[in-house]
């Protein structure tokens, strides 16, 4: 029986029944949420479904708030944001590899201009074929186009900059560190399948694992999103974003559009008819209550908390509204989205905005987010293409962004989340893809990733994980084809499970994710969640 059914079934068993089911391995109810044993288990479930449960009873919200306060009082208030990018990523669209001489980088690889179709001139003009002139980001080998968007929060398209996004200059390294990892092999060999995001063949995804092991304690569970309808899943089983568990591609629950979350949140805090006015002089139910009790404190508590949560949660509406916005179509900037006839939508950025607003809710009911960036499966087409191949019929349910727009929005989302980190939130962001795109924009295996988290003493510092010698050559295989070339990283960042330097010649996406686990274990004072998972990347810390 899956978790969803189990949760549903347990709803009807009452308080005692919930504990009985808990012992049997079922997911507990909100009615038992105040039990501290329950929190870590609930943290690994579907936030949307939990909200649906809450929506049945305003009283559940009070219990939820109690549990939030309980969790808040502990030190383990870290929040995880995983960003899954499909269909593959193309390293040269973000990084400039090759022989470096000052700010000039030369490599034997096709230019981004030549691969960008009608957007080629624009991409060249914006510096996609040059290394960033911002020292911090040039050290990470980012190209100027991507780094400028990341650094300034200003996109190279006009409409996007007026969309009500919370964008600002990228914070100093002492506040926010960003680490880039190149040459990441697939954890499991496949082509366009979500199982590539799992920690290991027989393990779940990072978000679920950290929830289940109690490293990330999210009172409402995991807020997993979806965008762009279906993605071109090819060898995968699930056409939309799902959270995968230990077994193959068996989904634990679905990612959903932002608007679904906003809708259920609104539903959760609004009764239909019963008077929820907090003014005691106006509330009719309270007046009836006073026929029995002169001072119905419980009712007042319920009304007060209801209003408090309502005030907080309605801020999420902005994210929901953002999701339905489209930019003006502009093929010269590749501002385009498949099967919409419009410019690129802001669905993905709406997810980032949801995170920005949700982490500010008192008590942090959401602490585990999974964002989903759906970019087109090029299969050799240019980086501005919205042509859909026939892997996933019907093709018109796939509303993917162009590759260029996808990376543009990725940079903007990182800028948004960086500002949230700089505000003092313990947020760690992990960007990963299920594979890489070869020099001919064909499907291939080797991707890149990012980790972004608070900087400063004891936290992370900027880092580039790569084979530094090979990426600094004009004609090395990794420079020519970073999406198809597996090279060993420089240094000793890849460690064995016992924290010794690994002798493994390749680093897998799962290794990077396990590095995030190791970092979070340290920060939250937890142990044991890496046991049996194998190698990991020792994320570099600031002294």
């Amino acid at each position: 029986m899956d978790r969803r059914k189990f949760l549903h079934q347990s709803l009807f068993t009452g308080f005692a029944g919930a504990f009985a089911l808990d012992r049997l391995g079922g997911v507990p109810l909100f009615s038992s949420l105040t039990d501290p044993r329950i929190l870590s288990r609930l943290a690994a479930t579907d936030a949307w479904y939990n909200l649906a449960m809450v929506s049945q009873s305003v009283g559940h919200f009070l219990r939820l708030e109690h549990s939030m306060a309980q969790a808040q009082s502990s030190q383990d208030t870290w929040t995880l944001v995983t960003i899954k990018v499909v269909n593959h990523v193309h390293t040269p669209l973000v990084f400039k590899l090759g022989k470096r001489d000052g700010n000039i980088v030369t490599g034997d690889n096709p230019s981004i201009k030549s691969k960008s179709g009608e957007a080629g001139a624009h991409m060249e003009l914006k510096g996609a074929d040059a290394i960033s002139d911002i020292p911090r980001f040039s050290n990470l080998r980012m190209n100027k186009w991507f780094a400028d968007i990341l650094a300034t929060g200003k996109a190279d398209t006009d409409i996007l900059n007026n969309a009500g996004l919370q964008l600002s200059p990228f914070p100093d390294e002492s506040k926010v560190a960003i680490q880039a990892a190149l040459s990441l092999s697939q954890t499991m060999s496949n082509n366009h399948s979500l199982k590539a995001f799992k920690l290991a063949t027989d393990r779940s995804e990072l978000a679920l694992h950290l929830g289940e092991t109690g490293v990330i304690k999210s009172p409402l569970g995991i807020a997993a999103f979806n965008m762009g309808g279906n993605y071109d899943k090819a060898e995968g089983s699930n056409p939309t974003n799902v959270i995968l568990g230990n077994v193959g591609e068996q989904p634990i629950f679905n990612g959903r559009p932002v608007k679904d979350f906003v809708s259920i949140v609104e539903q959760s805090v609004k009764a239909k008819h019963v008077d929820l006015q907090t003014d005691p002089q106006k509330n009719l139910t309270l007046k009836f209550d006073r026929l029995i009790q002169k001072d119905p404190k419980l009712r007042m508590e319920l009304l007060g908390n209801q209003q408090k949560l309502l005030d907080s949660l309605v801020s999420l509406n902005a994210a929901g509204q953002l999701e339905s916005k489209f930019q003006n179509i502009n093929v010269q900037t590749a501002c385009n989205q498949a099967n919409t006839g419009k410019g690129a939508s802001l669905e993905f950025l709406a997810q980032a905005k949801f995170v920005q607003n949700a982490v500010k809710i008192p008590g942090k009911p959401f602490r585990n987010f999974q964002l989903f960036l759906n970019i087109n499966d090029l299969d050799g087409s240019s980086l501005d293409s919205i042509i859909i191949d026939t892997q996933n019929k019907p093709e018109d349910v796939i509303k993917s962004l162009t590759y260029i727009e996808g990376m543009r929005q990725l940079a903007l989302s990182l800028n948004m989340l960086a500002s949230t980190i700089a505000e003092g939130h313990n947020l760690i962001v992990v960007v990963m893809s299920e594979g890489g795109r070869g020099a001919a924009l064909n499907d291939n295996d080797i991707s890149f990733g990012f980790v972004m988290a608070p900087g400063g003493a004891g936290n992370l510092k900027d880092a580039l994980y790569a084979n530094l010698e090979e990426i600094d050559k004009r004609d090395s295989s990794v420079v020519k084809d970073p999406g198809g070339t597996n090279v060993t990283w420089s240094g000793d960042d890849l460690r064995t499970e016992g924290n010794l330097k690994s002798s493994n010649s390749s680093t897998r996406l799962g290794d990077l994710q396990r590095g995030v686990i190791e970092f979070l274990e340290e920060k939250t004072g937890t142990t044991g969640s890496r046991k049996g998972l194998g190698e990991f990347v020792k994320l570099r810390r600031s002294a």
Partner: protein, 225 residues
């Protein structure tokens, strides 16, 4: 006056058989059907019944409501039958949230058309199978109970239509009649009774569903005996 008599009978029955509220409700309805309860009482009888009612009621209600047991799901169901008619807790399709712009308020995964809201919400009410009283009196009402009552009250009120005379409360008489029917333990001599009745009637004029739901969600409704 008719309803005052019903209130009196209800309280009298509750008083004599405190552990069988549902039976008392059914008994009352049976007697109504058999015509053993007059609907044309004289003013004298009405006054007498009201006075007896208030005495009985006042003997039950303490100053802070302590000791008054809340309704379990079975009692809740029969009380709603008496108060507003039968089948008022049934879920209708437009109550279920079907999409982002839906006007519904019930989750589609939990509530199905024609299901009974009391049965579904019963997990947080008092179990009729075990009579396991999570809330024993109005002082120790649980948050879950209050929350679930809100949901039940929303469903029942949503089912209230002008065609149902038992849902009428827009005059002071109909408002008081509904209070007498639905809140039989509350004495009309309670110091706040008149003012609450007036505000109830005013609320009914503006939004009858909101008024009815708010009354059903109150402590005054959820206590029994």
């Amino acid at each position: 006056m008719f309803y005052s008599t019903i209130s009196f009978l209800l309280v009298a029955i509750y008083g004599s058989a405190s552990c069988s509220n549902q039976n008392s409700s059914k008994e009352m309805k049976r007697r109504l059907n058999q015509g053993s309860v007059s609907s044309s009482n004289s003013s004298e009888n009405a006054n007498k019944s009201t006075e007896q009612n208030s005495i009985l009621v006042n003997s039950e209600v303490s100053g802070n409501g302590a000791g008054l047991q809340v309704k379990n799901s079975q009692l809740l169901s029969s009380s709603i039958d008496t108060c507003l008619g039968e089948n008022m807790a049934l879920v209708k399709d437009d109550m279920i949230v079907t999409g982002v712009d839906s006007k519904g308020f019930l989750n589609k995964d939990l509530y199905k058309v024609n299901s009974n809201a009391i049965t579904v919400a019963g997990k947080d009410l008092l179990s009729k199978e075990t009579e396991n009283r999570l809330s024993t009196n109005s002082d120790s009402l649980s948050i879950n109970y209050l929350g679930s009552i809100n949901t039940v009250a929303d469903v029942v009120a949503d089912n209230c239509t002008p065609a149902n005379k038992l849902c009428q409360c827009d005059t002071i008489d109909t408002a008081k009649q509904m209070m007498a029917r639905c809140l039989p333990s509350i004495s009309p001599k309670h110091e706040l009774y008149e003012s609450v009745a007036l505000e109830f009637q005013q609320a009914c004029l503006m939004d009858p569903k909101k008024a009815v739901a708010s009354m059903l969600a109150s402590y005054a409704f959820i206590i029994s005996r």
